[in-house]
């Protein structure tokens, strides 16, 4: 059974069956990552361009490894060192790259909607690797896969997304995906970072972090995006850490075994204390490992569609 779309632009509107298929397929690829030779010939002859208009460590390396482990040919594009600095428009750049015959494009851009725009100007399969404050579907898929592996299921669980929900594409993709999979989703953060009307998506809003820890099975803790002027939304980093930062003391106080996710990179001492970031509740590096398998699954399912 193939996916219903030839692109992955976001998780909004993606069916439960499709998410299930991606997660199940990822499980197959997870096994390959434990082999001595971590490579299968499945996407041999396919060319994939990684179009990164924004900086990235994890997502970019993760996608590149996933592509290489499926034996695809990969090309990396980043703005520094490209003709973008000579004033070439995005559309021209993209059409020139496509003229060199590429099959798939993995795109990250600071502007929401760029992957959608790409589907209009080229024939390749498009995968969104993060577009502005819109969506980051593969991150949400790897979060869901990690939760499912650790807790054995998704349906019926309670997951709270903590932090700068308003500026987080990880949050939005998680909300869409988790709700589709039958998870009870809530968000927690200072009211300046919780978008108005977010309840209309079907999520609860909690403003007290202790309450969020007590009432949920999983916390997905977002990074405070200092580079996106996050500091303007609360008086000081110290105050944020005091009221919303997760510390071991706070976890112990609420006496509950909770699963902690974080999409990285961590601001140690802000959203997570260093002790918690290295502690027994978090599965941060487990998420990173699973990320490669999940991206292999997405590349496989889109790249072998005829």
């Amino acid at each position: 059974m193939p996916l219903n779309s030839r692109h992955l632009l976001g998780l909004q509107g993606v069916s439960k069956e499709d998410i299930q298929l991606i997660l199940d397929t990822a499980h197959t690829f997870r096994e390959i990552l434990d082999r001595p030779i971590k490579k299968v010939p499945t996407l041999q002859g396919k060319t994939i361009v990684n179009l990164f208009y924004e900086s990235s460590t994890r997502t970019r390396i993760s996608f590149e490894l996933a592509e290489k482990r499926l034996s695809a040919d990969t090309v990396n594009f980043s703005i520094s060192g490209s003709s973008v600095s000579k004033g070439e428009t995005f559309k021209d750049t993209m059409q020139n790259i496509e003229a060199m015959k590429v099959d798939m494009v993995v795109a990250r851009h600071g502007a929401a909607g760029v992957p959608l725009f790409l589907t209009n100007i080229c024939d390749a399969n498009i995968i969104n690797a993060g577009d502005g404050i819109h969506e980051h579907p593969t991150q949400a898929l790897l979060d869901m896969y990690s939760i499912r592996q650790k807790l054995g299921k998704l349906e019926g669980l309670k997951v709270c997304i903590v932090g700068d929900v308003a500026h987080s594409r990880v949050a939005l993709s998680n909300i869409y995906g988790l709700l589709t999979m039958g998870v009870k989703v809530s968000v927690c953060g200072p009211s300046t970072m919780i978008p108005r009307y977010i309840e209309e998506l079907g999520v609860d809003v909690i403003h007290n972090i202790d309450e969020a820890i007590q009432e949920n099975d999983v916390l997905n803790v977002l990074r405070i995006q200092l580079e996106r002027k996050a500091k303007e939304y609360f008086p000081s980093i110290r105050e944020y850490a005091k009221y919303f930062g997760i510390t071991q003391e706070r976890l112990d106080k609420n006496g509950k075994d909770i699963l902690l996710l974080h999409p990285g990179p961590i601001n140690r001492g802000v959203e997570l204390s260093s002790e918690v970031a290295d502690g027994s509740n978090q599965i941060i590096l487990y998420q990173v490992t699973n990320g490669v398998a999940v991206r292999m699954a997405v590349l496989y399912l889109l790249g072998t569609l005829n």
Partner: protein, 181 residues
């Protein structure tokens, strides 16, 4: 689609498993270095049965694995349907083992080719021997089986259906005619 004959019934299948198990032990002079890997789906159950039989005969517990070689297929660009993939489950070390690769039907040889590539990526076995329930001919690659349950010559518009109790509720091999429109 029409059933033409039933060349092997439940008793026949049992005898085949018994004979092949003996052949494997004879050729390898015992079961010391052996490991069995079945190919999804029916090869897996066949592998289980051979392992059980060998345990009965030789009182040895052989390492048992399941292989899904879909990702190594050569028809991704030409197929209309996307093949479903499932997990391989091989928990032992393949290095220096004598591997018995088990599948139900040997036809073009392309599945076996992909399985060989997959196994090579997981380690370096001392040898790989191919055990097949039915050889129906029409090879497209230079591949042959070391242990054959039954040779059933077929034409291109015939098919072999292997039924196994674990998934189909009966043990039998059917020769089926498919109408090529």
């Amino acid at each position: 689609m029409r059933i033409k004959s039933k060349p092997v019934d439940q008793q026949g299948l049992e005898r085949i498993v018994t004979r092949i198990s003996h052949e494997i032990l004879e050729k390898n002079k015992g079961s010391k270095n052996l490991a069995i890997i079945g190919m999804r789906t029916r090869g897996e159950f066949l592998a289980n049965r051979i392992a059980e039989k060998i345990k009965e005969i030789d009182n040895a517990e052989l390492p048992l694995g399941v292989l899904d070689a879909t990702l190594y297929r050569d028809d991704f660009r030409t197929r209309l349907k996307q093949p479903e993939i499932s997990v391989s489950n091989i928990t032992f070390d393949l290095n220096e083992k004598d591997i018995i690769l088990v599948d139900d039907v040997l036809y073009t040889g392309r599945t076996v080719r992909s399985a060989l590539n997959a196994l090579m990526d997981m380690g370096r076995p001392a040898s790989i021997q191919l055990c097949i329930l039915v050889d129906r001919g029409h090879r497209e690659l230079p591949i042959r089986a070391d242990y054959v349950g039954k040779n059933i010559p077929t034409s291109q518009n015939e098919e072999i259906k292997v039924k196994m109790n674990e998934v189909d509720g009966e043990d039998a091999i059917y020769l089926i005619e498919v109408n090529n429109e």
